[in-house]
């Protein structure tokens, strides 16, 4: 053990970026509480106008000034717009019975901002708003217990189409991961529901096969992991439900988990071999 020498170069960019991000989150949380607690004292119109002005100021700053915290100012602007849109709709019901559409509006506005500023965090807000819109809007179209799963599939399909239309390489992985996870949640939801259990299993296994093929082809290990973990959950739900006997079920869960770990290890080894071969 020695006294460490002072380093010549110490990068602290990640720490500063995290600090800036935390600042944005604190402001957004504070604004959320102000809206919730003080709208009677301040007045809804004043709140709506002040937040809108702050959001516009954030975007204007990002457009006109090249700053090292530009990305975080854009994110703050997007979060303020979300807060304001929700507040305005709850107060004045501008969209009437179509109130859910403000999520769609947010999805479009955030997507436009994400592409204009090249901001991944704002893109994730857009995707979440799209999922929220599908989550509430499609309730009226599907009334069965499995409608959540169908809404998830529709959302995943839209994200996949978006992924193919996307021309910004840095956004591709975000769209792919959201699409894969939302599709798998839909599959697991179907599997967990008694009447659609087998269809859910089949759908989840098809998704798992697609995810694994894509992961292997593009050398993206997380997609192989998604396939393994979500596939295992779906198979476990069906088989444990079919077994009934707790002792055999727990023995099965032990064996299936070990098998999944071993299979994922083999996959990982393959990835490593390819990486070494590429190097």
């Amino acid at each position: 053990m020695l006294v460490a020498a002072r380093r010549d170069v110490v990068p602290i960019g990640d720490e500063l970026r995290t600090l800036a991000w935390l600042g944005v989150m604190l402001i957004a949380t504070g604004v959320g509480i102000v809206i919730k607690k003080h709208f009677n004292e301040i007045g809804p119109l004043t709140i709506a106008l002040v937040i809108a002005a702050a959001a516009i100021a954030c975007y204007a700053f990002a457009v006109w000034r090249q700053s090292s915290i530009r990305d975080y100012i854009v994110l703050l602007g997007a979060l303020l717009i979300s807060a304001d849109a929700g507040f305005i709709e709850s107060q004045w019901h501008l969209l009437g019975s179509e109130w859910q559409r403000h999520f769609l509006l947010l999805a479009i506005v955030h997507a436009a901002a994400a592409y204009y500023f090249g901001n991944r965090a704002v893109l994730s807000l857009s995707i979440a708003a799209l999922a929220a819109w599908l989550g509430v809007e499609m309730n009226q179209v599907f009334s069965s217990h499995t409608d959540l799963a169908w809404r998830a599939f529709i959302c995943a399909a839209i994200l996949l189409a978006w992924r193919f239309a996307n021309r910004k390489p840095e956004f591709a992985s975000l769209l792919e991961h959201f699409a894969a996870n939302i599709a798998f949640w839909g599959g697991i939801t179907l599997t967990a529901d008694e009447p659609t259990r087998l269809i859910g299993l089949l759908v989840t296994l098809i998704f798992a096969a697609l995810s694994m093929t894509y992961g292997l082809r593009k050398r993206l290990e997380l997609f192989v992991m998604y396939a393994g973990v979500y596939g295992l959950i779906a198979i476990d739900i069906v088989i444990v439900d079919w077994i009934h006997e707790p002792i055999i079920a727990s023995a099965y869960l032990l064996v299936s988990s070990i098998a999944a770990i071993a299979a994922l290890f083999v996959m990982h080894a393959r990835f490593n071999e390819k990486r070494v071969a590429d190097a």
């Binding site: 110490v10 602290i12 999520f103 988990s257």
Partner: protein, 321 residues
């Protein structure tokens, strides 16, 4: 003892079987799930589940480490920690605070064997929790700060193994939070204590000075955490409401980060910005805002909207109307 651990050179070069952080987390929880299934299976057969899991999991972990060179895969860590904890939890419970020390010893043992910094930090946290359970809140706080200071010294030294460096870093980050939680829960009233504020400001100053003089990154993180704790604790001194405080502190934080980034923009030596790389942290920061709900739709007035809420959510405007 050959093959029991990778050599420091092997650890640095990552020549043993290892995984990325996300894959490690997946394997860690899959292994814990398998161990839970084994525990359930043994319990249903009225076998001594704790002892069976202790022996089998540690035997398998040792086999994987020594024969297959598993190191940072998530599996061996889960087997060691899960094996020890399932044995401890299978023992008759007395409800005494000393249980924290037993759990701390198990975490320390597992952490030492697989050289896992998080387990080491867990062990230190459980010792602090022991003093908190004894109602020795100030002792818990001072112990946490003493451990953090030892970890600070540890960071100024050069270690052969990266895992030892990481242990000091994680302990230094975790201890101020553990110490504050130990002192803040001493009574049910959340009243500002000037002594606590002063202690954490002092900690922040010490860590910041060492960070600047020794050119270390982690002490800055700890100094920031200590300042944040001091601000939280000083809530009664603030003439403004919590929400105004959040907005002001957030704005100041953002401004400080921006100012430092600007001042480092063209620097090539010493503290520099470095290149923003694609990383797990960056991905997490991109996706995390979707979890934040800051819309006004669930404010005090009853909404005239009919219909259910959205199961999906986020975008700063979740569907939970």
């Amino acid at each position: 003892m050959k093959n029991a651990w990778p050599t420091p050179e092997e650890e640095r070069a990552k020549t043993w079987r290892h995984m990325s952080l996300i894959v490690q987390i997946v394997f860690f929880f899959l292994t814990l799930f398998a161990m839970s299934a084994l525990y359930g299976f043994c319990s249903l057969l009225r076998l001594p589940a704790g002892r069976i899991i202790l022996v089998s999991s540690i035997a398998v972990a040792e086999l994987l480490i020594r024969r297959a060179h598993f190191w940072r895969t998530g599996v061996e860590s889960a087997l060691w920690l899960g094996g020890l904890y399932s044995f401890i939890f299978s023992l008759p419970h007395s409800g005494k605070p000393e249980a924290f020390l037993v759990l701390a010893a198990a975490a320390a043992l597992a952490g030492w064997r697989v050289r896992n910094a998080l387990f080491g930090a867990l062990a230190a946290t459980l010792v602090v929790a022991y003093f908190e359970a004894l109602h020795s809140h100030w002792a818990a706080l001072f112990l946490a700060i003493a451990i953090a200071l030892i970890a600070l010294v540890g960071q100024t030294l050069q270690w052969k193994r990266p895992s030892t460096e990481l242990l000091w870093q994680i302990i230094a980050i975790v201890m101020p939070v553990a110490g504050y939680l130990a002192i803040v829960f001493r009574d049910s009233h959340f009243v500002t204590d000037g002594r606590v504020v002063a202690i954490f400001l002092g900690v922040a100053v010490v860590f910041a000075i060492v960070g600047i003089r020794r050119r270390l990154r982690v002490p800055f993180v700890v100094a920031t955490i200590a300042i944040a704790i001091a601000i939280v604790e000083a809530h009664d001194y603030m003439p403004v409401s919590v929400e105004a405080e959040l907005i002001m502190v957030g704005a100041v934080t953002l401004a400080i980060a921006g100012a430092i980034m600007r001042s480092l923009r063209d620097k090539k030596t010493g503290f520099v910005l470095g290149v923003a790389k694609q990383s797990d942290l960056r991905d997490a920061l991109s996706v995390a805002p979707t979890l934040l709900s800051v819309h006004g739709a669930d404010s005090g007035t009853p909404s005239q909207h009919a219909g259910g809420g959205g199961e999906f959510g986020g975008a700063g405007a979740s569907g939970n109307y």
